[in-house]
Every structure is written in structure tokens, then in C-alpha cells.
């Protein structure tokens, strides 16, 4: 019964996401970006230019393929906005899922069915994740195929970017779920996610650059915050490293964020289980 219920709520959530249109906007922006890239790569002038690049050059004393370098640049060029704008739109799209579920008259319907509350939350989580993954996978595979056809660069590492970006989304989504359950406010859930993603995580990631100006206590507080707040900037760096074919400097952020994800979704389920509606 458990997996069956989660599957149905996941399917329902995907339907809900498409009804909200923002996911379609995301897909539209992705398609537009792919069309632009295709026009650049396959227009006659550009192909001539690519032909001119069909040579090797020396970078830092090493012989490298110019086409590979061009493809790497394009991948980086797409990964950075995909990470920023893609996650921005994704957070916007899913922030209302939990508050709308908890609306009076709606939650009663779900809870009156033979479904455990944990299954309901997990269904919402997987549904939101599936929609975002499909969108991100679509644009990443699109770029990969276009670069492969246009420049004959078929580096599969780039495909992993869709997983790291989706994983970043999953961490933030657990936070949205927790705040949604606690406050029933989509605005607050969205604003907090943006605060963590765009402000706190980048500041904490660069804490080394300003720690010398702070006292011991403040540095300790910042260090604690660094480990309890989603390290999304580090995940962004790993995505970029994968996009550019560089071996990631450290995979520890994946571990830390996995722990944060599990703790946050578990807390959400425990709190949701205790709530009266």
C-alpha cells in the first residue's frame, strides 16, 4: 500500500505542477535556449567557424582540441544560468505545493483516505522532484546532443550535471516542505529558500575571506551555520566542475547535503504527523 500511495500522490503532484504553468515557462525557456544554441551551431557561418577550429592548440604547454575547449565553454555558459535561473523557477513552482495541500477542505480529503501522512509528504516530495528533474534533464540532454552533433564532443560527464542540480533542488525542496508545514505560507517558504540559496550559502562558502575580521565566537557561529545550512554554492561548484570536465575538488558537500536532506524531510514528517487539521 505504501509505495502505491506514494506513486499516486507523486503522479497527482506532477499534474498539479503542470497546472501551475511555471514549469511550462521553465520548459519554454529551456526550449528557447536550445533553439538559440542550435542556430548558433548549425548556421552555415558558424559551421565554417567551427571548421576553422578543427585544429589543436597549445594551452599552458599542453596540446588541446579547440573544439573540446569551445564545447566546455558553452557547457559552462549554460550550466551557470541553468543552476541559478533553473533553481529559481523550480523553487517558485513548488513553493505552493504544501500550503495548498494543507488548505482547509483539501487536506481533509487526503487524510480521510487510507494513506499514512509520511506517504503523502513523500509523494509531494518525489512529485516536485520528478518535474524539476525532467525539465533539467531535458535541457542538459538537449545541450549535450547539440554539442555532440555540432562539435562531435560527446563527454557523458556533462549529463551528471542534471543530477547535481536536481539534488540541490531536492535539498531546498525539503526546506520548502518543512517551512510549508510549519507556517502554511508559500511566500515564506519561497523567500527562505532564496535567502539560503542566493545569500547565506555564498556568504558562508566564502567565510575564509572575512573570518580574520571577526572574533572567535562569531567565527564559531558561522562555522556551525556553514554545516547546518544547505551548502548550495558548493553543489553549484561541483555542477560546474562536472560540466567543464574537471574532477570535483571535493565531494563532501554531497554528503553534508544528503544528511541535511534526510534530517529536514524526517523532521517535516514528524511534525506533520503530530498536526491537527
Amino acid at each position: 500500500m505504501g509505495m502505491y500511495n506514494i506513486y499516486h500522490v507523486t503522479k497527482f503532484t506532477i499534474k498539479e505542477a503542470f497546472a501551475r504553468r511555471i514549469i511550462l515557462v521553465f520548459a519554454g525557456v529551456s526550449t528557447f535556449s536550445l533553439v538559440i544554441l542550435a542556430l548558433l551551431l548549425f548556421s552555415t557561418d558558424a559551421m565554417d567557424l567551427v571548421g576553422a577550429f578543427d585544429m589543436k592548440t597549445r594551452v599552458d604547454g599542453q596540446l588541446v582540441d579547440v573544439k573540446t575547449e569551445l564545447a566546455t565553454g558553452i557547457k559552462a555558459l549554460f550550466t551557470i544560468p541553468l543552476y541559478g535561473i533553473g533553481l529559481f523557477l523550480s523553487i517558485f513552482a513548488v513553493s505552493g505545493f504544501i500550503p495548498s495541500l494543507l488548505e482547509k477542505g483539501n487536506i481533509d480529503l487526503f487524510l480521510s483516505k487510507p494513506i499514512a501522512r509520511a506517504e503523502l509528504i513523500l509523494g509531494k516530495f518525489f512529485g516536485g522532484t520528478a518535474v524539476v528533474f525532467l525539465n533539467i534533464f531535458y535541457i542538459v540532454v538537449g545541450i549535450w546532443v547539440l554539442l555532440g552533433l555540432g562539435l562531435n564532443v560527446w563527454s557523458a560527464d556533462f549529463l551528471l550535471v542534471s543530477f547535481t542540480i536536481t539534488f540541490t533542488f531536492m535539498v531546498l525542496y525539503t526546506l520548502i516542505i518543512l517551512v510549508g508545514i510549519l507556517t502554511r505560507s508559500s511566500i515564506l517558504a519561497m523567500m527562505l529558500s532564496y535567502l539560503f540559496f542566493f545569500v547565506l550559502s555564498p556568504i558562508l562558502e566564502s567565510r575564509g575571506s572575512f573570518s580574520q575580521f571577526l572574533g572567535e565566537t562569531w567565527n564559531m557561529v558561522i562555522e556551525i551555520l556553514y554545516y547546518i545550512i544547505p551548502q548550495t554554492t558548493e553543489l553549484g561548484r561541483i555542477s560546474l566542475e562536472l560540466a567543464t570536465g574537471t574532477t570535483p575538488e571535493s565531494l563532501l558537500p554531497l554528503l553534508y547535503n544528503s544528511i541535511i536532506l534526510i534530517l529536514t524531510i524526517s523532521s517535516s514528517i514528524i511534525i506533520f504527523n503530530k498536526k491537527d487539521f
Binding site: 499516486h8 497527482f12 477542505g105 480521510s112 483516505k113 487510507p114
Partner: protein, 314 residues
């Protein structure tokens, strides 16, 4: 096996920073036999919806025991056999009528192969066949209520909770819903009905319970609740003098007078005859004597306020 069995059920809500406590249900005992239409009455804030929500796992109990269909309510699997039409329900507006039935049937654990046929039958039953492909956001309040009723029945439940089922439905629709509820009973289902429309409850319920401030005030058949006393209205041709009023009210309990009318509530017809004798002795002309039918609403108001119902206001 009882359809519903509640023992010493208590619910206390805590709200605000100071955790101010509000008692919604105080040590409630209630038993509902299977196969009946059971009405739950009470003023706003009496604890009716809280009781339903506890039984369905939407709200947690504070103390006490609650079973439905012989199982403790903590076993959520028992809700496979339960249907629910919520008050002020809010269905996903992006889904179509038939989609919502499919979705909640699957979520309700209905796994028989005849689901499509069952949905067709239910849409026909609630007269929503031609709107099956329309999104719920385009439905009127009455249409939502009809599709909500179909949703409550889609998993072929043994026990159905209906919270204000005729809310927003026109008189013809209300009659149709009443017929559907009666048919549920004929099919052996137990219906637990919460409605403000006392005339409706009176028409279809086998038993009724009255809740007030979280307490069970009374419980019984509609007949038991409405047949305490017969009430008679005696209309006279001339105004009553103060002296007569005092004499009459002093001699007969349950008597009220205004200018030309006397309202007398009694079980005993000999008392009525004695009153008529008194009126005749005073040489007053009786224009009319009518027996007032005591409604569930009269009984309800009397129970809740401890006073006479509307027919007593002369």
C-alpha cells in the same frame, strides 16, 4: 460490531503562544449501529466536525477510545471502508470530474477491475455525466457538492461521513441527495450525517445525537426527541384579562398566553379538556383549537437553549 464506538473521547486544542486551551470534546460516549442513518446536531462550535475529524484521523484525540467498523482509528487502513464528504471541501481545480473520482478511488484503496463502470454509475447517480470531462474550476457550488458525494462513495464504503451534504444545492438537488442517502442505507451502508438543516435530518435520520459545548446532550430516534409533549394553540374571540391569565397559568403548567391566544403543552388530553372547561366557565368563545406538530427544530432549540422552541413564542 458497531459502525462507530466512542468512549470517553476528549479533545483539547491548544492555541497561541500561551497555549490557551479550548475543550472541543469532553469525555464523549457514542455508539452508532451499522446500517442506520445517524444524524449529529449541535450549534456552531459544539464539536461535531471535531468528532468526525478525529474518527477520520484528520485531528488527533487527546484522550479516550474511538473505533470505526471494529478497528481502532489509529489503524489508517480501516479508512479503505470509509467515505467522506467534507464541509467546505476544496477539490483540485485542475482536475476533471472523472479524474477526481479515479484519483480518490485509487488513493482510497479501491482495486477492483470494475472501477470505470463504478465511476460511470456514480456520475449517473449524482447527475454529473455530462460534466465528467469538465475541469472542477468551472463547476458551480452545487456541482462540486454532487461530485463530492460521488467521491465519498467511489471506494464502495461501508461507513459514510457526510458533513453538510446539501450545502449550496437547490431544493430539487437536495431531494435527490436525500434519496441517494436513503439508497445507501438500503444497500446496508451506515451514514453519519452532520447537517444544520434540521428538517432534512428529521426526514431521513433513524437516530439523532445532539452535541453542545463538546458534550452529548441527548440521543435517540427522531420520534423520541420530538414526542415529549403535544402542543395546542387555542384562539379566542376576545382579549384575555390579566385575572384569567394568572388563574390559567397558575392551574396549568406549560401554558402561555398572549392577547387572544393560549399555547398549551401537555401529554395528557384530560388536562386539555380541563383547560377548555375553564375557558368555557369564563364564558369565552373558542374560535379555533389546533394541534401543533412538534418539529426536530423545536426540540433542538429547547434542548440547546433550555427554553421553548419557535412555536412556543406566542
Amino acid at each position: 460490531m458497531n459502525a462507530i464506538e466512542v468512549k470517553s473521547l476528549r479533545k483539547v486544542y491548544s492555541s497561541g503562544i500561551r497555549q490557551k486551551e479550548v475543550v472541543a470534546l469532553q469525555s464523549l460516549d457514542l455508539t452508532v449501529d451499522p446500517g442506520v442513518i445517524y444524524g449529529l446536531l449541535g450549534p456552531n462550535g459544539a464539536g461535531k466536525t471535531t468528532l468526525i475529524k478525529i474518527l477520520l484521523g484528520i485531528t488527533h484525540k487527546t484522550l479516550g477510545e474511538a473505533n470505526i467498523l471494529g478497528e481502532d482509528i489509529s489503524n489508517y487502513q480501516i479508512r479503505k471502508k470509509v467515505g467522506y464528504l467534507a464541509e467546505n471541501h476544496k477539490y483540485p481545480p485542475f482536475m476533471k470530474g472523472e479524474e477526481i473520482l479515479h484519483f480518490f478511488a485509487q488513493l482510497g484503496g479501491y482495486d477492483k477491475p470494475d472501477l470505470d463502470q463504478r465511476i460511470n454509475d456514480l456520475l449517473k447517480l449524482v447527475d454529473m455525466e455530462k460534466w465528467r470531462k469538465t475541469k472542477l474550476k468551472n463547476y458551480s457550488k452545487g456541482m462540486l457538492q454532487r461530485i463530492g458525494l460521488a467521491q465519498a462513495l467511489v471506494n464502495d464504503p461501508e461507513l459514510v461521513f457526510l458533513d453538510e451534504p446539501t450545502d449550496g444545492v437547490d431544493p430539487l438537488g437536495r431531494k435527490e441527495i436525500r434519496d441517494i442517502i436513503k439508497r445507501m442505507k438500503d444497500d446496508g451502508k451506515t451514514v453519519f450525517l452532520n447537517s444544520h438543516l434540521l428538517s432534512e435530518v428529521e426526514l431521513i435520520c433513524d437516530r439523532v445525537a445532539v452535541l453542545n459545548k463538546g458534550e452529548l446532550i441527548t440521543e435517540g430516534t427522531v420520534g423520541e426527541l420530538t414526542s415529549d409533549n403535544d402542543e395546542y394553540k387555542i384562539t379566542l374571540d376576545s382579549p384575555l384579562e390579566e385575572e384569567f391569565k394568572q388563574k390559567a397559568t397558575g392551574s396549568f403548567a406549560g401554558l402561555k398566553c398572549n392577547r387572544t391566544k393560549i399555547i398549551f403543552s401537555t401529554k395528557d388530553s384530560s388536562e386539555l379538556n380541563s383547560l377548555i372547561d375553564l375557558i368555557r366557565r369564563e364564558e369565552k368563545q373558542i374560535m379555533e383549537i389546533t394541534k401543533q406538530k412538534r418539529t426536530l427544530e423545536d426540540s433542538f432549540l429547547e434542548i440547546i437553549t433550555g427554553k421553548e422552541g419557535k412555536n412556543g413564542d406566542v
